[in-house]
C-alpha cells in the first residue's frame, strides 16, 4: 500500500541534510508552508540554499529560518520588501548570498527542472544587468537569453487538500509556486489543511498528481 502520509512535520523533514537545496512555496505569506519551515528550523539543517519568490516577511516562516542562520544562499526574485528586515540585515552584513532572477524566469527555471528541460531561451532580461555573462541568441528576429533549470533536493509546499497517494489541490492564489516546485525536487513535502481519503479529490480537478509528491502532512492534527 502506498501511504505518503507522515504523522508530523518534524518526521517529514527529518532527513533534510546540511547543504541541501530546498524550494519553499509561497508568494509572500500566501502558500508559505509555515509548519514545515518551523520543523526545519527545529531540525537544525544548515548551510541551505533556499529557492523562494521572496526572502521572508516579518519574523516568521522563511524569515525565521534566515534569522536562525541556516541559509547560505537564496535564489529569489524580490527580496527587498517593507518587512524584509531579517534578509536585509543579513545581506548588508555579507552573511547571505543572493541570486536574483526575474520572477517569470524563476518560475520557468523551476518548471524546466521538473519537466526535464536542460535550459531555455527567454526574452526576459535581455539587454539588462541580470543577463550579463549569459548566452544570448537571436531567434526569428527577437533576442533571447539562456536560462538554466533549478533543481532541488527538497520542496516544502502548502496545499489545501491531499490524499495518501500525494494528489493535491490548492486554495486560491496560495497555489503560486506549489505545483511547479513539486515537480522540481527529489523529495516534495506537502503541508495540507486536510488529508482526505483516496477518491475524494475530483480527478478532473487534481492540480498536482501524486507522482510529484513524496510526503503529505496535515498541518493541524485532528
Amino acid at each position: 500500500m502506498i501511504d505518503k502520509i507522515y504523522a508530523t512535520p518534524e518526521a517529514a523533514v527529518a532527513d533534510i541534510h546540511d547543504g541541501a537545496t530546498v524550494m519553499i512555496g509561497g508568494f509572500g505569506n500566501a502558500g508559505m508552508p509555515t509548519r514545515l519551515i518551523d520543523a526545519l528550523i527545529a531540525h537544525g539543517a544548515r548551510d541551505l540554499t533556499i529557492v523562494n519568490n521572496n526572502a521572508g516577511n516579518g519574523e516568521t516562516g522563511l524569515a525565521a529560518l534566515l534569522k536562525a542562520g541556516r541559509v547560505r544562499k537564496i535564489i529569489c526574485s524580490f527580496p527587498r520588501q517593507a518587512d524584509s528586515q531579517v534578509f536585509d540585515a543579513l545581506y548588508r552584513a555579507g552573511k547571505i548570498e543572493l541570486e536574483l532572477t526575474p520572477q517569470g524566469n524563476l518560475a520557468e527555471r523551476i518548471r524546466a527542472a521538473g519537466a526535464g528541460i536542460g535550459g531555455f531561451f527567454t526574452p526576459t532580461g535581455y539587454g539588462t544587468q541580470l543577463a550579463e555573462g549569459k548566452e544570448t541568441r537571436l531567434i526569428d528576429g527577437r533576442h533571447y537569453v539562456f536560462e538554466s533549470p533549478i533543481h532541488a533536493d527538497f520542496a516544502l509546499i502548502k496545499a489545501q487538500r491531499g490524499d495518501r497517494w500525494g494528489n493535491l489541490v490548492y486554495r486560491k492564489t496560495a497555489r503560486n509556486f506549489g505545483p511547479i516546485m513539486a515537480t522540481a525536487a527529489r523529495i516534495t513535502i506537502a503541508q495540507v489543511a486536510d488529508v482526505v481519503p483516496l477518491g475524494e479529490l475530483d480527478p478532473e480537478a487534481i492540480v498536482t498528481p501524486g507522482i510529484f509528491v513524496q510526503r503529505v502532512v496535515q498541518e493541524d492534527p485532528q
Binding site: Q81, L100, G104
Partner: protein, 217 residues
C-alpha cells in the same frame, strides 16, 4: 498650465483599454487604473501571482490571506475568474497572450527602453520581481509616470542612465503633462495638458519630441 492629476491620468489610460482586453496593472500608480475602467466594457485583469478575472478590494472583514494580488494586497475574484500556478501566470505574459501591461517608470528612452526596477544606487538591495517579465509581457506596454522627477529632471530621455528593465518595450507614455507614443519615427506627442505649449513640454523632456496631436485633444 494645469497638469493632469493622478486620477485623470488613470482615467485617460483606462479609456485606451478596449472591450475584451486582458490587462495586467503593475504595482503603484497603475493599480489606480482599475477604478476607471469603463463599466460597459468587459476587461479581464491578470495578476502574475496567479489569477485572471481579478475583482476589486474586498469589504473590510472579508479579506482572505490566500486571495491576494501581485502587490500582496487582498483582492476578490470575479465570477468566471481562474487561479493558476506561477509558470502559467508568466506564460500568459511571455507568450504574448496579454493585450496590455500598465507599468510605472524611473526612465523611458526615445527608443522605448524602460528602466523601472533599480536606481543602481550603491548599497541598495536589488529586487526585480516580475518587472522584466511584465515589460515584455504584453502586446502593448503603457507607462504611467510623472513627466519629471521631484527635482525637475526629465524621466523621458534619449538613453536611460538607470539599469534597464527591458529594451524597446514601451508603446505609449502617459504623464502629468502629455500622452506620448513611442514610434519607429521617435517620440510623438498626441495630447498635452491644458495651457501647455509644445516648446514648454520639449524643454521639460530629455529626448526629442514630435508633435502630432490627436484630433480633439
Amino acid at each position: 498650465m494645469t497638469p493632469f492629476t493622478r486620477e485623470q491620468i488613470a482615467a485617460r489610460v483606462a479609456a485606451d483599454i478596449p472591450e475584451g482586453a486582458y490587462v495586467n496593472l503593475g504595482i503603484g500608480a497603475p493599480t489606480l487604473v482599475a477604478n476607471y475602467l469603463p463599466r460597459d466594457r468587459e476587461i479581464l485583469l491578470h495578476s502574475e501571482n496567479g489569477l485572471l478575472g481579478m475583482g476589486p478590494a474586498p469589504a473590510p472583514g472579508e479579506e482572505d490571506g490566500d486571495l491576494i494580488n501581485a502587490g500582496k494586497q487582498p483582492v476578490t475574484l470575479l465570477a468566471g475568474g481562474a487561479f493558476f500556478h506561477h509558470a502559467d501566470a508568466f506564460a500568459m505574459m511571455r507568450g504574448g497572450h496579454l493585450d496590455i501591461c500598465v507599468l510605472g517608470a524611473f526612465q523611458v528612452s526615445s527608443k522605448g527602453d524602460l528602466a523601472n526596477w533599480s536606481t543602481g544606487a550603491p548599497g541598495a538591495i536589488p529586487a526585480v520581481g516580475g518587472a522584466m517579465d511584465l515589460a515584455l509581457g504584453a502586446r502593448q506596454v503603457f507607462i504611467i509616470t510623472d513627466h519629471n522627477t521631484k527635482t525637475g529632471e526629465p524621466k523621458i530621455v534619449e538613453q536611460c542612465t538607470y539599469p534597464l528593465t527591458a529594451v524597446a518595450c514601451v508603446s505609449r507614455i502617459f504623464t502629468d503633462l502629455a500622452v506620448i507614443d513611442v514610434t519607429p519615427d521617435g517620440l510623438v506627442v498626441r495630447e498635452m495638458a491644458d495651457g501647455l505649449t509644445f516648446d514648454a513640454l520639449q524643454a521639460r523632456t530629455g529626448a526629442v519630441l514630435k508633435q502630432q496631436l490627436t484630433q480633439g485633444a
